[in-house]
Amino acid sequence: MKKDRLGLVLIAASLLAIAVVGALVYRNGLQVHRQNIRVSGTALTRAVSGMESASDASAAIAGLDREPLLRSLATLQNDDNLAYLVVVDTSGRKLRELVSPGSIVPAATMPTEAYAWFGEHTLASPGDRIAIREFFAPVMGDGQLAGFVRAGYFEAYRPFASHQLSLMGLMALPIFLLTTLAYLLLRREIEPLTQLGEKLNAVSRSYGAELHGVDAAGGNDGLMRRFDGFLRVVQARVDGLAQEKAESQTAARLTSYKHEKSEYALNSLPDAIVVLDDTGTATFANLKLEQLLDRRREELVGKSVQEWCENRDVMNFLLRHKQASVAGRNAMLDYAPDGDPERRIRIAAIPLFAPRDRTNLSGMMFVFRDISIEHKARQAGSDFVSHVAHELKTPLNALLGYSELLLHRSTLSEAEQVNAVNVIRSETERMATLINNLLNISKMEGGSLKPERARVRLHDLIQDAFQSLHNSALGKSIELELSIPPDIGSVRLDKYLFRIAVDNLLSNAIKYSNPGGRIVVSVGTLDDGQIQIKVRDQGIGISAEDCRRIFDKYYRSSSDAAASRTGHGLGLYLAKQIIELHQGTISVASELGKGTEFTVTLKAQPVTLEMSEAV
């Protein structure tokens, strides 16, 4: 369509060019025509004028019959434009007349003044009003004006005479041919541009933008506009892409931030985590796993369980659960890493489901937790149960045995009977002590045992404890010595609890003293007002290693000498707990075979505080 328009324009242009050329040719022709007429007319009239003039006035015009000569002259000119040639006298009478067919000689007023005898003017043919250019010259007779020669030419220019048409055709033809050629060439040149334009349109459309208002104009201008439009679209697209890029970068940063955050959280967990996909390949491991398995994550991730798991039980567990108990029951496995019985690691298998689809298992997560401490605690709990069972049932055993013996007291001697009863009594007391200790420890550990502090005379408290154990000391021939200043004053403490601590320290000293040994209990006040209670024996002593653990719950020395003494490993532990409950400290100094000294230090108790509390 646009191509057609171009064709029309080209045709119009060629026609215009032809018209212009035609007009120019016409104008030129007109000028040449007029010039020709003038030259012909002037020449003819002058020639005839010369020919007609004579010295004799009468002979001047009327003289000889010169018509054939005239005719020859006119014919000589061979001019189609010559309308007529007449010789007139001064009155206007035609003397001689040569007229082309169809022409009429118009009447004319001839000039009289001599300066205007030669000249020309335009007349109109009487019949058809055709413009006639007439040239005239005087005919003289004896120096006097005898008449005029008048030659009339058709002024109208007939440019397209048959001989000229072929010329015009020859001129127009190349223009036409050139125009056509130019059109074809242009078309050929424009074709790719048009295609380019359409392509631009198509591309723009694919970007979702229409090149608006560019269809209205074709050609180069259209192409330019289209190109402009295209550039705008491209620019918009580039801007859009830049925006998208920025957005995606932000999103990526956000994602990476989120990822890092969750990774950080996963790495901060106290538990080690490994995720296996459904082929049993590790896809994720957190930092903790490196420590727990002593393997770098790179050694695990992307590898199958068989490649990195050394422990057969663990491997079987991991593989067994790779397809998983989808039931949601989280299976567990406890194992001792590297065969270390002190350590325990618990693996929990947790199925990972695809989000929003509880039936699609995407993998398994295994959480490795170091439960060594819990294991130890459980072990300790189990030990505690055996320990307590033993400590409680052993006296029962004695009680049952001796009471059964007493059933047959007739067979027993007096001394045997007394001994049996004594054993029953002491074993009962032992059980009671143990039960009390256990209860106190359990209360203290549970936090429900709060010391009920009251003003207590320390002197009396120590004295009472000392007295009550005096008998058992005497039984082992142990000498007991008490050194306590009578003015030691009173302290605020839980009398009942503190007595347990002191009793435990004293009975301990007796238990580990050798017969004939000596135990010294001394109480004193330090310079800074702290009160110190020392229990020193000359017993079997405690090794340096045992000293470190002597206050631990259930701890009993494994040395031969200590092992021959009964004990339940609670006394010193309980004493320490009670003393610390009173913001005091207890320490031990000992030498094997020489003896042991326990030192209890109680904080100084300001009098003002006591008084204010007493109010």
């Binding site: 189990s382 055996s386 320990h387 009680l399 049952l400």
Partner: protein
């Protein structure tokens, strides 16, 4: 006279068992820990062994295992006086032949009946008071 070895760190228990069993006509030897008990067993195998479990130096469990090592073809029974009869305790004893539990508190009648079961009745006929 059948010889019974009693291993216990509790002097009261050893004493009362000894009194009871002597009256029943057994000859009694005592040891106050597993180590001493093992020495006594290797010195001369008794006709029966009565042992406590929780003892210093060597526990009853260690003693039983040590005897198993030292005397693979042991023929005398071991009576274990235990405070616990739970699974853990049963597990290790299950592997030891000729071993019986005596759950604390141990009645003298049950000790005697076990011994009779293994050593035959009427060890000292009429000796029981």
């Amino acid at each position: 006279m059948k010889r019974i070895l009693i291993v216990d760190d509790e002097a009261h228990i050893t004493l009362v068992l000894k009194m009871h069993l002597e009256r029943a006509g057994y000859a009694i030897e005592t040891a106050n820990n597993g180590k001493a008990g093992l020495e006594a067993v290797t010195r001369q195998a008794p006709d029966a062994l009565i042992t406590d479990i929780q003892m210093p130096l060597m526990t009853g469990r260690e003693l039983c295992l040590a005897i198993g090592q030292a005397l693979p073809a042991r023929t005398f029974p071991i009576l274990v006086m235990t405070s616990r009869t739970d699974r853990e305790e049963r597990e290790w004893t299950a592997a030891i032949p000729l071993l019986e539990f005596l759950e604390k508190p141990v009645s003298m009648r049950s000790v005697l009946s076990r011994l009779e079961k293994h050593l035959g009745s009427g060890v000292v006929a009429g000796a029981t008071p």
